[in-house]
């Protein structure tokens, strides 16, 4: 588990990462309630965006490894690429899970009405994994850390917007409402709606199942070993 501990420490060593990893989630707790929409406080509606950002921040560490030739050296080290990938992802997911716990627990303490905090936590954790997997697949397309991050920022904005996290999906034209289902963010916003209004647990499980399906697909796509 050396790689695991190392990547855990490394994720916190960078100042910008520290801000992304701690300040933003804490800041999310203190965002106000919306009037009509969203149904949860803004910080919780937008937490998905933060999770996406944190996902790419963490995943670019793997990209950095590739650029510095660490992946090439790993090929001759007594460590399989699979171990390297799983331990890194495990460390990243633990960070994301901790963040989700802080946000939910902090929100409950702060006195937000979160309806079912425990289910919200499950939803956020599922989405965290999806975000990591998407980021992993995304960086497998790039050589440069900066480029991948900058382009991903705009992609995040698009999928968040089209997935219905920034605006209620009902306000979209019909065709966009159909297309929205393609994006993982749609399922997150559906999950949030379920937290507020839903009562059939199987629907919620389906939503999480789809998020996990996305996770597996993107993990498979992103697990390619690329050596620069």
């Amino acid at each position: 588990m050396t790689i695991f501990w190392f990547s855990l420490k490394r994720s916190f060593s960078n100042t910008t990462n520290l801000i992304f990893l701690t300040l933003f989630p804490v800041g999310a707790i203190f965002l106000p309630m919306g009037e009509v929409w969203p149904f949860l406080p803004y910080g919780y509606q937008f937490f998905g965006i933060i999770v996406l950002f944190v996902g790419i921040r963490l995943a670019t560490i793997i990209l950095e490894d590739r650029a510095k030739g660490v992946v090439k050296r790993l090929a001759v080290a007594p460590v399989t690429h699979f171990q390297y990938l799983t331990q890194n992802l495990l460390a990243f997911s633990i960070i994301l899970i901790l963040q989700s716990i802080i946000v939910i627990y902090g929100g409950v303490l702060y006195g937000h009405e979160l309806y079912h905090p425990e289910w919200l936590l499950v939803l956020f954790i599922s989405f965290s994994f999806t975000s990591l997997a998407v980021a992993l697949a995304w960086i497998s397309l790039y050589r440069s850390k900066e480029t991948s991050f900058l382009v991903y920022m705009s992609v995040i904005f698009l999928i968040v917007f089209l997935g219905g996290l920034l605006m209620p999906i009902e306000a979209f034209p019909d065709i966009l409402q159909r297309i929205a289902v393609i994006f993982p963010t749609y399922w997150l916003s559906e999950g949030i709606v379920w937290i507020v209004f839903g009562n059939d647990i199987s629907e919620f499980l389906l939503i999480n199942g789809v998020l996990w399906l996305y996770t597996i697909i993107f993990l498979v796509i992103g697990s390619v070993r690329r050596i620069n």
Partner: protein
């Protein structure tokens, strides 16, 4: 080496295009979020096939998912194209035909699905044969490459052998010369020298005369032997720098100038043979491919190396024919076998520089 596009690129492209087709059908069709999961499941299998090589029975999963969704959505009919494609791709003709016929007969769906499944089968078959051919070609290429490497090694070995043979020949010749000098000249000259020493101490006049006659005879004989030995040793063909000059003078297509510096006699024969072929190759190349009017040949011999540079003033050099010509390539190989280097530049006219180190102590003394 440049490699062409892999057939797998198109196979994966087809898989993902098919998924996009399903998504499109889903958007313009029922757009039920539940049915989208079928597409995700098929996408998962497609990406798994992209990364790993799944066994043929894995199409059962695709089939199962499609069959599961048949009561709910029309998309699963189109989705059947994926398992069908995979079956044909693996060469399971019987199963694929069975699946094709059963889906056409049992589902009794639209004509479009018939054509869609048919093209999936066709592309599957095409990919199957392409992959097979690709495999055969790769093996053939490997075998060719292997034999090419072996040839190259053999060539290097031969060149090395050539060098050592030439050295051996030199040593043998040197031994022969020294033996001949020793046997014929040495014997007579020593005799003559001893006789002259004895002559100085001789008192008897007549005996002294006789001795002097003997000395004269011996010296005469050794002069003849010396002449014979030298005559036998010197070769009738021209070698070295003279030979190069001869080659250059025989060339009349364009102006040539030849300059040489240093002690050209210190260059061993096997290097001369290389320099000679280099010079010939360059001159013919220039005559054949270039519009040059003048060629400067420059030969420098120092204690440590020989440097031959051939520069012409041609302007329309065809880079490809010049650089990839097998003549220069084999010359390059030969110079490398002698630890030298042959560099080519066509920036200003065409320039070939051949540098070969002279191994001290081995060939020069």
């Amino acid at each position: 080496m440049k490699t062409g596009l892999d057939a797998n690129f198109f196979i994966n492209g087809w898989r993902f295009l098919n998924i996009i087709l399903l998504i499109h059908l889903w958007i313009i069709g029922d757009s039920n979020a539940g049915n989208f999961i079928l597409i995700l499941l098929l996408l998962l299998l497609a990406s798994l096939r992209w990364r790993l090589s799944l066994p043929a029975w894995s199409v059962l999963f695709d089939l199962f998912f499609c069959l599961l969704y048949i009561p709910y959505t029309n998309i699963s009919h189109y989705g059947l194209a994926l398992p069908l494609f995979e079956l044909v791709l693996k060469g399971k003709w019987l199963y694929s035909v069975l699946l094709f016929l059963s889906s056409i007969i049992l589902l009794s769906s639209s004509d479009f699905i018939f054509w869609h499944l048919l093209q999936a089968m066709l592309f599957g078959a095409f990919s199957y044969f392409t992959l097979k051919n690709q495999h055969v070609q790769l093996e053939r290429l490997d075998a060719l490459r292997k034999s090419e490497y072996e040839l190259e090694r053999l060539k290097t070995d031969l060149l090395k052998a050539n060098q050592s043979t030439s050295q051996q020949a030199r040593l043998l010749e040197r031994n022969r010369i020294s033996r001949q000098l020793h046997d014929h000249l040495g014997h007579d000259l020593t005799g003559a020298s001893l006789a002259i020493q004895a002559y100085e101490h001789m008192e008897d006049q007549q005996k002294a005369e006789q001795l002097l006659e003997e000395v004269k005879k011996r010296i005469q004989r050794s002069t003849i032997h010396l002449r014979e030995t030298v005559h036998n040793m010197s070769s009738t063909v021209m070698t070295g720098a003279e030979r190069m000059e001869e080659i250059i003078n025989d060339f009349h297509q364009f102006d040539t100038s030849f300059k040489k510096y240093g002690d050209t006699f210190s260059v061993p024969a096997y290097i001369w043979s290389l320099l000679e072929s280099c010079l010939k190759e360059c001159l013919t190349n220039t005559a054949r491919h270039s519009n040059a009017t003048k060629t400067d040949i420059d030969l420098q011999v120092t204690d440590a190396l020989v440097r031959l540079s051939i520069q012409d003033n041609g302007t329309k050099q065809n880079k490809k024919t010049q650089f990839e010509g097998s003549g220069l390539r084999s010359l390059q190989l030969r110079t490398r076998a002698l630890d030298g280097s042959l560099s080519i530049s066509n920036e200003d006219g065409f320039l070939v520089v051949c540098v070969i180190p002279l191994q001290e102590g081995v060939d020069r003394d």
